[in-house]
């Protein structure tokens, strides 16, 4: 009985909060280095936005999209992606954790492994990258020609960010799970995570048909930023999708997360039955 009450009092949420708090304190042991990290990651990721600008010095439209609209698309994708980075970016170390045995230490504790990884080693410099995305988003929102009221815009942006974060997190969790079978597969996973970020930062129309189908039906990156941006600027999907798809992000993200967690569990089981 006593143990049951103790468990409730110290539920997973509070343990997560404490572990993240510990990471914040760790980062603050070196405040100057932390500040420098935030600023430099803000500037470095901001270079992608310069890339978008460079494209539009040569062309006026990108598969029918104006520069303002693409900046908005980029802002949504980037903010969503780096929020995800903040929450699950620690997973990039999975291969290293398997090699060095840190994963085994987590398996010795009476908690699930995935939350322990997510709570450990949070890279707070990602805050700089999120800030960069928000700047792009703000620029896009102020320049683009948006249809309805500010409240409607805010709701659309909020729903889009929730959906994008869930979708990117699902891609991250599923692709990093490859490490359970092939320890040195970080680059393969990066192709999906960072590749997915780059791909969803541009209008779907610029890609070939095969890639478009994948982004809509297999790895649902089109729901992260593409459809929500179409909804924000009040434009019909040239690929024939319903306007309602702009709201589908959170639902698609939830399904994708469920699939990703199943992949993760399968991977962890494979690791434990084969060893590394």
């Amino acid at each position: 009985m006593a143990e049951a009450t103790a468990d409730r009092r110290l539920g997973p949420g509070r343990v997560y909060a404490r572990l993240v708090g510990a990471e914040v304190r760790s980062a603050m042991e070196y405040p100057a280095s932390f500040a420098l990290g935030v600023v430099s990651s803000l500037l470095l990721t901001g270079l992608s936005l310069v890339g978008v600008a460079a494209v539009f010095t040569n062309v006026d439209e990108l598969s029918g999209w104006t520069a303002e609209e693409v900046v908005l698309l980029y802002g949504l994708a980037s903010t969503g992606f780096y929020l995800t980075d903040l929450l699950v970016g620690q997973l990039d170390e999975l291969g290293l954790m398997i090699r060095t045995g840190t994963l085994d230490v987590l398996l010795l504790r009476p908690r699930r492994v995935l939350p322990q990884i997510l709570a450990g080693d949070v890279d707070l410099r990602s805050l700089g990258k999120v800030a960069q995305g928000l700047v792009a988003l703000a620029i896009g929102l102020s320049l683009a020609d948006l249809a309805p009221s500010p409240a409607a815009v805010a709701l659309r942006v909020l729903v889009a960010l929730v959906g994008a974060t869930a979708i990117y997190a699902a891609v991250w969790i599923a692709s990093i799970s490859i490490c359970f079978w092939l320890v040195d597969s970080r680059e393969v996973s990066a192709a999906f995570t960072y590749g997915g970020r780059d791909m969803s930062s541009y209008p779907l129309g610029i890609y070939g048909q095969a890639l478009r189908e994948v982004a809509r039906f297999v790895i649902p990156l089109a729901f992260a930023a593409y459809y929500p941006t179409l909804g924000l600027v009040g434009r019909a999907d040239p690929l024939g999708g319903s306007p309602a798809l702009a709201w589908a992000g959170p639902l698609v993200g939830a399904v994708a997360l469920a699939v990703a967690l199943a992949v993760w569990r399968t991977g962890l089981r494979a690791y434990r039955s084969t060893g590394a």
Binding site: A6, L10, R25, D104, L108, R109, R272, T274
Partner: protein, 322 residues
């Protein structure tokens, strides 16, 4: 020690499949039997030394006992539970120290790691306070609690890791090389602490080590494995007997002389006035050897040396190979 069985391995096996390079792209699969049919029973309250050369399967055994790895064959039970299926439940009752791998948060003061683990293990506040007080005293943690773990010496960090593994009051502890890299004073402190844990708290301990002094000082029972199999299971004295290693009578003569001709011994070394006479079997009496030596030469000093434990284990490994 009670009769209650806490750990039970029956024909436990773990086979790893490795890929070996055979040219640029070709890989050949090879099965490595890290644990190859181990039978082992540990009762509550025992302190067992688990020895074996590198790659013998010691760590793999511990990983199967903690549920990190699933056995490929045989059964593994801890307090009647399958550690793989009941990993989280058993983790609450088991403590583990990997000597070469710390579970502490390197950038934070030691006490912060304790606080985090308290929440991870959901230790009730009163229990936590009581255990902290005891561990702080036994492991002399007072001065290092506020120090970031990164700045601790190896010995200090090991004391921190030991405390961290015991904060939730485990009834069973796996220790993997807990004295590795420590100086003599630090080793002694850790050993005294482990002896206390076992004797006073009744904690069952499985101690994996390369340091045979650990075993000599702490473990009545010694299990030696090699190539994934148990090659010895018994008390230390039986291990010595099984190895065929024997005692040595060291005599110091009044003046240098030729090797003494004494029945039942081999003269292992002549170093000036000192001669080392190794008994040919355990049945030879040391006092008879001393008497015989004194009859043949003027002896000024005598010492009897027990066989060095690492030679004993080396001998057992050799026989395990054969």
């Amino acid at each position: 020690m009670s009769d209650e069985v806490l750990i039970e391995l029956a024909g436990a096996e773990k086979v790893f499949s490795q890929r070996i390079r055979r040219g640029r792209l070709r890989r050949q699969r090879r099965d490595v039997r890290a644990v190859d049919g181990i039978d082992l029973t540990v009762r509550r309250g025992e302190m067992v030394g688990y020895l074996g050369p590198n790659g013998a399967g010691k760590s793999t055994t511990v990983k199967m006992l903690t549920g990190i790895l699933v056995p490929s064959g045989g059964t593994v039970r801890v307090d009647g539970l399958d550690p793989n299926r009941h990993r989280i439940e058993l983790a609450r009752r088991v403590g583990v120290v990997f000597g070469q791998r710390s579970q502490l948060w390197p950038d934070l003061p030691l006490v912060d790691s304790f606080e985090l683990l308290r929440h991870i293990y959901a230790v009730p506040a009163a229990d936590y306070r009581a255990r902290r007080a005891e561990l702080d005293e036994l492991l002399d943690l007072g001065d290092i609690l506020a120090t970031p773990v990164r700045q601790l010496s190896l010995g200090q960090r090991m004391r921190g890791d030991l405390a961290a593994a015991l904060l939730h009051g485990p009834e069973l502890v796996y220790l993997d090389e807990p004295t590795i890299g420590l100086d003599v004073v630090a080793k002694d402190r850790v050993r005294r602490f482990l002896a206390h844990l076992n004797a006073e708290r009744g904690v069952t301990v499985l101690l994996t080590t390369h340091d045979l002094v650990d075993v000599e000082r702490l473990c009545r029972r010694v299990v030696v494995i090699d190539h994934g199999r148990v090659v010895h299971d018994g008390d230390l004295a039986a291990l010595v007997r099984a190895s065929g290693a024997t005692r040595t009578v060291v005599v110091t003569l009044a003046e240098p002389g030729p090797p003494l001709d004494v029945p039942g011994v081999v003269v292992a070394e002549v170093d000036g006035v000192r001669q080392r006479l190794r008994l040919t079997s355990e049945d030879v009496s040391a006092s008879a050897v001393v008497a015989a030596a004194m009859a043949r030469a003027e002896v000024v000093d005598i010492a009897v040396e027990e066989p060095a434990i690492d030679e004993v284990v080396a001998a057992v490994y050799q026989r395990g190979l054969a």
